[in-house]
């Protein structure tokens, strides 16, 4: 490096500008803290707009490279390279035993809206929620399980799936809802109470009196993407997320975001939701799950 004996005028002005810029930067940073303090009561959602790094996955470049590779091999055919759910496989139609034809639209991963979560309505799924769906697949939907993959590979897929929606970097994760099944779930008394709640909560409006998904509102429902969807038929087997009591309870509690199934977390007490589990497991003929 050549060192000038006298610093040039240009060089001095660069240094002055630099010092000035740093000063502005410090004042701006100080002001931001001072001005935000009065409005921040800890609950103020203004601060929620701040982009934060949430949950652990997503930063590791090697993990993302692996996730992208696996996504390309296993997921693109349905979910598309851009994750918008419009892969070459397209919409799949399946017919139930009842004769109903269900249209299966692969999830549009770009909207950050997911049905199978352990968090309240409107919340992003937790990493473990996405991991569960990727690991176990989704019943009756042609979404296969990925048990053949190692845990690290499945985690890499989770990290990559999260890159499709900016929600995962902009929002904080919500508190997980614990499904703690009381011992009395499945008892005669609980089933009777659950049946009364099934009617009181107007479940038959969509799911029908006998649970076969043919209620008076069953043909009116569209999802977030404007696709017509049909309510679950309790008479034809499993919930897509699996019919364990915990999964049934979580469905009532969290709702299935993006679909017509709302959350009953605020409309029913915890105990009532478990009574509803007792009754609907009976409707599904899945009492063996309680043993």
């Amino acid at each position: 490096m050549i060192v000038n004996k006298k610093p040039s005028l240009q060089c001095i002005s660069y240094i002055l500008i630099m010092v000035f810029s740093l000063l502005i930067f410090s004042i701006a940073a100080a002001e931001e803290g001072a001005l935000k303090a009065p409005q921040d009561d800890g609950k103020n959602a203004v601060s929620v707009d701040v982009k934060k790094d949430v949950q652990d996955a997503g930063n590791n470049e090697a993990q993302l490279t692996l996730g992208k590779k696996l996504f390309g091999e296993r997921c693109v055919v349905c979910h598309g390279a851009s994750g918008n759910g419009k892969g070459p496989a397209g919409v799949i139609k399946v017919m139930e035993k009842s004769g109903r034809v269900l249209e299966i639209h692969p999830r549009d991963l770009t909207s950050g809206t997911f049905k199978f979560r352990t968090v309240s309505t409107g919340c992003l799924p937790l990493d473990e929620d996405l991991l569960r769906t990727i690991t176990d697949g989704i019943l009756k939907s042609f979404m296969p399980d990925a048990k053949v993959l190692k845990l690290d590979e499945r985690k890499a897929l989770v990290a990559y799936v999260k890159t499709f929606s900016p929600r995962f970097t902009a929002e904080e994760p919500c508190k997980q809802i614990a499904a703690k099944m009381p011992k009395w779930v499945g008892s005669k008394d609980s089933i009777v109470k659950g049946e009364a709640l099934y009617k009181k909560m107007k479940c038959p409006d969509c799911h029908g009196n006998d649970g076969s998904g043919n209620g008076p509102k069953s043909n009116d429902i569209v999802d977030d993407w404007g696709n017509k969807i049909l309510p679950f038929n309790f008479r034809t087997g499993n919930l897509k997320r699996g019919s364990t009591p915990d999964n049934v309870y979580l469905t009532f509690t969290t709702g299935l975001d993006g679909s017509g199934m709302p959350s009953y977390e605020d409309s029913l007490k915890d105990e009532e939701r478990w009574n509803l589990v007792s009754f609907t497991l009976k409707l599904m003929n899945k009492a063996e799950y309680l043993k």
């Binding site: 810029s21 203004v46 707009d49 929002e171 107007k202 509102k217 977030d224 409309s267």
Partner: protein, 244 residues
């Protein structure tokens, strides 16, 4: 050496920029400017009638067979009511009001049809009907809907309170009654309003600067316009919608 210094200076400016472009900052606004205007329709548009299509007789009894949609409320002077007028990005300005957004399911319609909710406040959703409603609030992002809350309100007088978390334009629907609809702009700053029956609006207490103002109407669509606001003065920004 010069290049290194230049790079450092540029980097410092970029970093300063990031500091300024943070979240909405609350400051004292004294002698701020305002934006006023009128939103008009180029021609009268007939207000569509909503058909109450249900197979449940008790719902017809409660909600009738048809209802005015209230979509096009156009005054004699062609002013359009219920246009959302908002500035999405404002770096700093006055504090957001602490005001919950009350949304009611009444006779199989949402009331109000259009309104502003504020970040930091709550949605308070009520079912005033003796029938099942679910209130599904969805953020519109790039023309796509993303569920913010989907709440079951199976009984009369059920009330659910939820914080306003994600900001932007929301469409509200009830899956049990497809004709039901509402629009809520969830604002991260207080500079949002709706037009009155004459199509007039006013956004007050803005710091001087140039802002991007968006006008949204469920039937006419949306448009964004630039306006420059000077201290202590009202700037005028009108818009005339034409039916697409």
């Amino acid at each position: 050496m010069k290049k290194v210094l230049l790079l450092f200076v540029l980097l410092t400016f970029v970093l300063s920029g990031i500091a300024f472009a943070g979240p909405y900052e609350v400051v004292d606004v004294k002698g701020g400017g305002s934006i006023t205007g009128v939103v008009k329709a180029a021609a009268k548009v007939a207000d569509p009638v909503v058909k109450i299509e249900t197979t449940k007789p008790e719902e017809h009894q409660l909600c009738g067979m048809t209802a005015p949609s209230g979509m096009y409320e156009i005054s004699a002077g062609m002013g359009v009511k219920n246009v959302l007028v908002y500035i999405e990005e404002v770096p700093k300005g006055k504090a957001l009001p602490k005001m919950d957004y009350k949304l009611t399911n009444l006779k199989c319609q949402f009331t109000p049809l259009v309104g502003i909710a504020y970040s930091g406040s709550n949605f308070v959703v009520t079912n005033s009907d003796p029938v099942f409603h679910n209130t599904s609030i969805g953020l519109m992002v790039g023309g796509k809907r993303s569920t913010v809350y989907n709440l079951a309100l199976p009984g009369k007088d059920q009330v659910i309170t939820k914080p306003v978390r994600r900001t932007g334009l929301n469409s509200v629907k009830c899956d049990a009654h497809p004709w039901m609809r509402a629009w809520i702009y969830a604002a991260k700053n207080p500079y949002a309003t709706i037009t009155d029956a004459d199509g007039k609006y006013e956004i007050k207490d803005l710091l001087p600067g140039t802002y991007k103002v968006t006008f949204f109407h469920e039937g006419f669509g949306d448009v964004t316009k630039d306006v420059t606001v000077a201290a202590g003065k009202p700037a005028t920004l009108d818009h005339t919608f034409s039916k697409k």
